[in-house]
C-alpha cells in the first residue's frame, strides 16, 4: 500500500506577513500546519469539527475554522494568527481590552475569540452589542460566561473610535 505520508503537496502560504514554502500532507489541516510545521501554537485545537472556534484564524480576510480547512487549500493565501496581532511584542488594542475587562480566564478559547473579534471589528468597526454577540456566537468559552468578552470588544471598538476622532 502506498504510504499516506508520501502523499504531499507543495504550497506557498504567507503567515503573519512571513512567506513560507511548505510541503504539506494531503490530509493535513491548516490548523495542523500552523501548529506543527510553523510552531505557532497560539491557535488552539478543541472540537476538530468547526464548531467551537478555538482554531479561528483569518485566511484571505475571512475568519475561518482552521481545523476544517486543508493546508493545501491555503496555497497562495495569506493567514493571520493570534501571534500576528501583537505590535512589536506588545498586545494590540483588542488584546489589551481583553486583559483590562477580565475577558480572559483559562485562556484556551482566547486566541480564537480574539481573532473572531478582530474580524468583526475589521468589517464593522462600531458594532452594536447584538452584532458582537452574533459575531462571536461561533466561539465557545466555558470559563467567562461571555459578558466580559462582549465588554472587551465594545471597549476596543470605542477606543478605536476615539483614536479616529
Amino acid at each position: 500500500m502506498k504510504n499516506m505520508t508520501e502523499n504531499t503537496i507543495k504550497i506557498t502560504v504567507t503567515v503573519n506577513g512571513q512567506p513560507h514554502r511548505l510541503e504539506v500532507d494531503a490530509h493535513e489541516t491548516l490548523l495542523e500546519m500552523i501548529r506543527n510545521r510553523l510552531d505557532l501554537t497560539g491557535t488552539k485545537k478543541c472540537c476538530g469539527e468547526g464548531e467551537c472556534g478555538a482554531c479561528t484564524v483569518i485566511l484571505d480576510g475571512r475568519a475561518v475554522n482552521s481545523c476544517i480547512i486543508l493546508a493545501a487549500e491555503a496555497d497562495g493565501g495569506e493567514v493571520l494568527t493570534i501571534e500576528g496581532l501583537a505590535e512589536e511584542g506588545k498586545p494590540g488594542a483588542l488584546q489589551q481590552a481583553f486583559l483590562d475587562k477580565g475577558a480572559v480566564q483559562c485562556g484556551f478559547c482566547t486566541p480564537g475569540m480574539i481573532m473572531a473579534a478582530h474580524y468583526l471589528l475589521e468589517n464593522n468597526p462600531h458594532p452594536t452589542e447584538e452584532e458582537i454577540r452574533e459575531g462571536l456566537s461561533g466561539n465557545l468559552c466555558r470559563c467567562t460566561g461571555y459578558g466580559k468578552i462582549v465588554e472587551a470588544v465594545q471597549a476596543a471598538a470605542a477606543a478605536a473610535g476615539e483614536a479616529e476622532k
Partner: protein, 749 residues
Amino acid sequence: MKEPIIGRSINRVGGLPRVLGTQVYVADVKLPNMLHAKLVHLDCTHARIRGIDVSEALKVEGVRAVLTAEDLPKPVPRFGPAYQDRPLLAVGTTQFQGEPVAIVAAESEHAAAVGASRVKVDYEELPAICSVAQALDPAAELVQDPELRADGPFKNTNVMDEWIFGWGDVDSCRAEEVIEENYVFPIVTQFAIEPFTFLAEPTMDGITVYSAIQIPYGLQRTIAAVLNLPLSRVRIIAPDPGGAFGGKQHPKFEPLLAYIALHLGRPLRLELTLEESFQAVRRASAEVRVRSGFRSDGTLVFQDIESNYLIGAYADIAGRVVSKASYVAAGPYRVPNVRIVARAIFSHTTPSTAFRGFGAPQENWAVESQLDAIALKLGMDRIAIRLKNLPKKGEVFMPEDPPADGDWAEALRRAAEAVGWGTPLPKGRGRGIAMGLKAGPTTAASYSIVRLHLDGSVTVYSGTSDMGQGARTVFTQIISEELGIPADRIVVTMGDTGAVPFDLQTSASRSTVVMGSAIVKACDDIKRQLKDLAAECYGVRAEAIQVSPGAVHLPEGDRSFLELLKDRFGRVKGEVIGVGSARYEYLKGHPLGGQPAFYEVVAVGAEVEVDRETGETGVHKLVVVGDVGKAINPQHVSMQDEGAAIQALGHSLMEHYVMDSSGRVLNLGALDYRIPTTKDVPERFVSIHIENADGPGPYGAKGVAEGGILATAPAIGGAVEEAIGVRIRDLPLTPERIWSALNTRKERG
C-alpha cells in the same frame, strides 16, 4: 496614600501570554524524539472482548507498538482516587463507552490513527446498565467485580456505597403539611475547551509526566504506585489547564502512557479528541426525592431526602461527591429534623468525577425547587419562605458543624432587590430565586515557599493549579500586600512537582483560603528572618526592630528590604527563603472527616421569558450574590460568579447526554452537545459580593469559585414556573420539555 492592593481589580497575572497566544498549554509541549499514541475503543458501552488482532496495525508504516491488556503486567495495574479499580486498559470486558482496549504508539499522530483503525477487535456486545432503575434491579448484572471492592454490605450489589446522615427525628416530629416530589438532574460534562493531552518521558531519574492536572501531587502518587517507583523519581509537570472544572482532578490515561513510555524507552504523547474527552469525564446524574414537612407559616419541620446518583463503571471520586454534597442537602436552612440517604450507583457509563459544585448543584436543584413548591402550597412569597428558615449569622444549623458564617439573609435580599422582585412583569415572563450552599474543604495541606531575591523581587512556589480561576493573581496580590513588593516584581511558579512543595489539591474553592494562608505564613517567615538579619547587620536587639511590608524599622531609622539585603549579604550575596504551610487535619468521627473550612453560599435571582409557541426560554437577567468574606480581586470574583452561573445555565436549559437504550451517548462533541454561546447568555448579568471579612482565609476571604453554579438552575426553574404556570422537575428545561408541559396542561385543563 497608595490604593491598597487587596480589594483592587488588578489584571490577570498570566493574562498577557494568553492574549498574545504564547501561553504554553500541555498540548503545546513537544518533546524530542516523541511518539504519538492513539487509543482503540469500541462503538458500544459494555462488551466481552474475545480477541484482539493487532497484526495489521503493526504493518502501518511508522507504528512502533500496539499494546493490549495482554501485554501489561499481571494482574493489570489498576488505579483510582478512592480505591484501585480502574485498569490501564480494558481487561476481558469494556465497562463503558470509550474505555480503551488497546493503544497504538507511532512516529506521527496520523500513523497512530491509521494504526488504531486497523486494530481488529472481536467482541460481543453485552446488555448495559445505564440507569438507576436498571442498576438497582435485584436481577441486574454487577457492573463492578466485587473482588475489586472492599468488604461491606453493598459489595455484591451495584451500590458503590450508601450514606445516611441527619439529625432530629423525621419519623416522629409533627408537621402540619407534607409534600413529596422527585427531581432529576442529568448527566452533563465539564467540556473544558482544552481537551485532554498527556505526555510521558523517561528520564535519567525516572519518569516525567505532563498533564494539565489539578492535583499534580495526586498524579505523582498514582504514577509512583503503578510503576512501583519512589515519589522522588516521578516528576509531574502540570501546565496551567485550559479549563478544568473538576474534570482534571484525577488521573485518566497518564498511568497507561507512563507505563508504555517506560516500556518503549521513548517519550509518548496522547491527545484526546473532544469526543474522547466527553467519554473521559462527566458529572453524576441524580434522582432526588424530597419529602418536606412544614408548618402553615412556612417553618420547615423536616426534610427527608433520598438521592440516587448514577456514577460510572469505576469509582473515581464519585463516592466523595455523593457524600459531601448530600451531607449538606438540606441547604442553608434551619431544619430541626433531617434525614438524608444518598447512594452512589455503578453503571456502564463514563466514570463520573468532580465537576464544579461537587454534587451540590444536584441537591440544590431538588431542595430549592421544593421550597418553591412549599411556598406555592402555602400561598407564600418565595423570598419570605426562605427568610423564615435562614439561620442568622452565628446560628448553628447543622449540629456537628460550624454555625452560619455569613449574613445569608442579606444575600437573599440583595438578590431579590437586584432582580426586581415584586415589580410588575411583562406577560410571558417570570422570576425565580434560590439559595445555594456548598461545604468548603474539610481537610487540606498546602505548603508554599517564597524567595525574596537580592533585588527585592520575589518568586513564590505553589502547588496550586491556575486553571482560569486566577490563583496566580490572588497569590501575587497577597505577597504584594504582605511584603510591600509591586505585583510586577512577583513571579508565581506552579505546576511542577520538581519545583513546588506539596499541595493536597486544587479543588473545593480552597486555594485562596488554604494556599493563600500558607503564603501569608511564608511571608511572615521572611519578615521574621529579616528582623534577625537586621539585628545582626546593624547591631540592634531584635525586639527593638519592627518589620512592615517593604521596610525594617530600627530605632535609628528605616531601611528598605533592598537596603537590608545589600547591607547584610554584601559581595557574597544571598536570599531569604520563607516557608509556610496551612493544614486542616482529618477529624475522626465527623461524617465528612472534617468540618468545612467555610460555607460557599449564594443567592441567585433570574428573570426569564418563555416563548409559549416554541417552549424556548430566554434569560433576561441573572443575579448572583455571593457571601465571599473579602473579595481580594473583585473583578476576578465577578468573573467566577458569571462563569459558574453561565455553566449552570447550560445544565438548566440545554445540556445533557442523550443515550440510546444500550447506553451509547448520541451527542458526543461540540456539534451535538450544546453549551451556552454568546446568544444564550442573559441580557444582563449582575454579580454582587457581600463582604464582611468573616472567612478563614487571608483578610477574611472565603472561596468563591463554585457559588454561581449552585443555585442558578432552581432560580431559572422558579422563573419558568412563574412564566408558564407549570413546574418542571427534570433538568434541563429544554424547549421540548416546556412545550410538552404546556400542552399536557392544556389537554388536562
